[in-house]
């Protein structure tokens, strides 16, 4: 009887394993395999170079630049998007007339595709006919200036991610018991103290989850770079995913692209493990 029960369970898991197998596990192992070769233009592994691709990567200044740029990008995106999401969630915490409109507006970035938003931003940031330069009376070529290009892409991404952060934080806020605020008022707490000592710790589990998800998502940003800057100017927005795309589908160097993918995977893996370790200490349920 017991054996039958277990087989039943595994049978239910089969469909999902099939999908995972085709779309997740097979590409994963194929990428590992390809990263040990140099490929021809059709993507077939031609020359076994072992760790040669990785060695070339570690010696390439372009790759280190990608890593540095990606790290700066992730920090800006995660910080700005979480602050934006938290602010909007706190603003929409208590009902007021017209809250429907505002909460829809704050959650709207979730529904916008990153490519469409990037195209709109491209026109807005145009130095001659763009609205940003017209409103602030500036003459800066935003996406062609190495100083500002990364900030533009980061702000756009942060705004796009703020929608879902608003949702997460709203859910987290609604989990906090209302009565503790009343008790704190009786004790004479100011609203700042209430926020800092009651809201934030109450949000800690949700914040941790949002942080992990945001970091992983920021590492995978692609559409905005492809449309706005194509990795330029001067590689200042050459995020690692974009660099992988260029190497694979533009330069037809699948081996090197696969090696970069593996490195990206390791970085995100290490980061996630570190975050989970910290969670054990920091987050109280």
């Amino acid at each position: 009887m017991k054996k039958l029960k277990n087989t039943g369970a595994y049978a239910y898991l089969l469909p999902s394993f099939l999908i995972f197998g085709i779309f997740l596990f097979y590409p994963f192992f194929k990428t590992l395999y390809l990263s040990l070769f140099k490929t021809n233009k059709m993507g077939q592994a031609k020359l076994f170079v072992g760790l040669g691709n990785y060695k070339e990567l570690l010696q390439s200044s372009s790759f280190w630049n990608s890593l540095a740029v990606t790290l700066i990008f992730v920090v800006i995106v995660v910080a700005v998007s979480m602050i934006l999401g938290l602010t909007t969630a706190v603003l929409c915490n208590k009902t007021f007339p017209g809250i429907r409109f505002f909460s829809t507006a704050y959650a709207l970035p979730m529904a916008i595709a990153s490519s469409s938003a990037a195209m709109i931003f491209k026109i807005m940031l145009h130095p001659s006919v763009g609205i940003i330069n017209k409103i602030f009376h500036l003459d800066i070529n935003w996406v062609s200036d190495p100083k500002y290009a990364l900030i533009c892409v980061a702000v756009l991404t942060a705004w796009l991610n703020s929608g879902i952060n608003f949702l997460y934080f709203s859910a987290g806020l609604s989990n906090i018991d209302e009565t503790i605020y009343e008790r704190a008022s009786v004790d004479g707490a100011s609203s700042f103290q209430k926020f800092y000592r009651l809201t934030l710790p109450g949000l800690a589990p949700m914040m941790f989850y949002t942080l992990v998800v945001n970091i992983i998502q920021a590492f995978q940003s692609f559409g905005q770079v492809k449309i706005l800057t194509q990795g330029g100017p001067g590689e200042s927005t050459n995020l690692i995913v974009y660099s992988i795309y260029r190497d694979a589908f533009f330069n037809y160097r699948f081996g090197s692209a696969a090696a970069q993918s593996v490195v990206l995977f390791l970085i995100v893996l290490v980061l996630t493990l570190v975050m989970f370790k910290i969670e054990k200490k920091g987050v109280k349920y």
């Binding site: 140099k38 021809n40 233009k41 006919v129 330069n251």
Partner: protein, 295 residues
């Protein structure tokens, strides 16, 4: 200039001049520069030239110089670039830098279409672009000023070369299916028919590949209304097959390298000579890798 599943048309580069903003009193022709540039006679900028690898290739063709070895890649697969050896690249980069430093050709971004917005909005006096964008420009300008066209500029007055063609093209894949092959061929014949080519030219500015298209009424009417379309056709007839440009296995990557190095040069990160040698070394490495892995 959409190239997805589009009709065969050889496209040309041409300049669009803006005569309305020309103020005689303020115009001063640069004595040293030997090519025709309308100066800042009231325009916001003289020339809006995007950082586009294709322009670099055209400038090489206009000088009559080769891009890669082995007969510009046409006699055998290219093994290395020669634009550094024959000095063509340095000429181009020096002139580009001069224009940028003098403030005549600011950095308007990468890609072939990046200079068009400045021109259509009336900020730039001249822009470089494909004939394929001519219709778009005329529509965007919508009569607010007169639009003229001229040949693609050469680097010096002595340049003997001509322009090469490029752009949208038709390809048929061999799927070992005879029915599909026949059907595709019928479609191709339709697309290159005189009628289709005349319509295609009138609607976009793409150069018609069928000479019979010149006799179509649609074509003649379009030329009568917009004589600007004729410039590209004259320009190609004034060129010659030996200036047809290079064949190169890693062209997308090469073009990207050219754009990156020019961008770095304009941003002051390197001199023109360094840019040329970096371009050459990066491209040679890619060509080597490609030839090694693809027989």
């Amino acid at each position: 200039m959409s190239q997805i599943g589009s009709i065969t048309a050889e496209k040309e580069k041409q300049m669009a001049l803006e005569r309305q903003k020309f103020q005689e009193a303020k115009a001063k022709m640069l004595a040293q520069q030997k090519y025709n540039l309308v100066n800042k006679g009231g325009a916001g900028e003289a020339l809006s030239m995007g950082i586009y690898g294709w322009f670099f290739e055209e400038f090489m063709c206009k000088q009559g110089l080769e891009y890669v070895d082995n007969g510009n890649g046409r006699e055998a697969a290219a093994e290395k670039v020669v634009f550094d050896e024959n000095g063509g690249a340095l000429n181009i980069l020096n002139e580009w830098k001069k224009l940028y430093d003098a403030g005549y050709a600011p950095n308007v971004g990468r890609g072939g279409d990046s200079g068009l917005a400045d021109f259509s909005s009336g900020k730039a006096a001249i822009t470089l672009g494909s004939t394929a964008s001519l219709k778009q420009i005329l529509q965007d300008v919508n009569g607010s000023f007169e639009v003229g066209t001229a040949y693609f500029p050469s680097i010096t007055d002595d340049d003997k070369g001509g322009v090469s063609i490029g752009g949208a093209s038709l390809w048929m894949l061999d799927n070992q299916d005879d029915a599909k092959k026949a059907a595709t061929w019928e479609f191709v014949k339709y697309l290159v028919s005189a009628e289709s080519q005349a319509y295609w030219n009138a609607q976009t500015g793409y150069f018609p590949v069928t000479t019979a298209a010149h006799d179509e009424q649609v074509f003649k009417d379009n030329i009568a209304e917009y004589p600007q379309f004729q410039t590209a056709i004259d320009q190609l007839h004034d060129s010659a097959p030996e200036y047809a440009g290079a064949l190169l296995s890693v062209f997308p990557e090469a073009r990207s390298i050219v754009e990156t190095e020019i961008e770095n040069m304009l941003n002051g990160k390197q001199s023109a000579e360094d840019a040329v040698s970096k371009m050459a070394s990066d491209m040679n490495k890619s060509i080597e890798d490609y030839n090694l892995l693809n027989e």
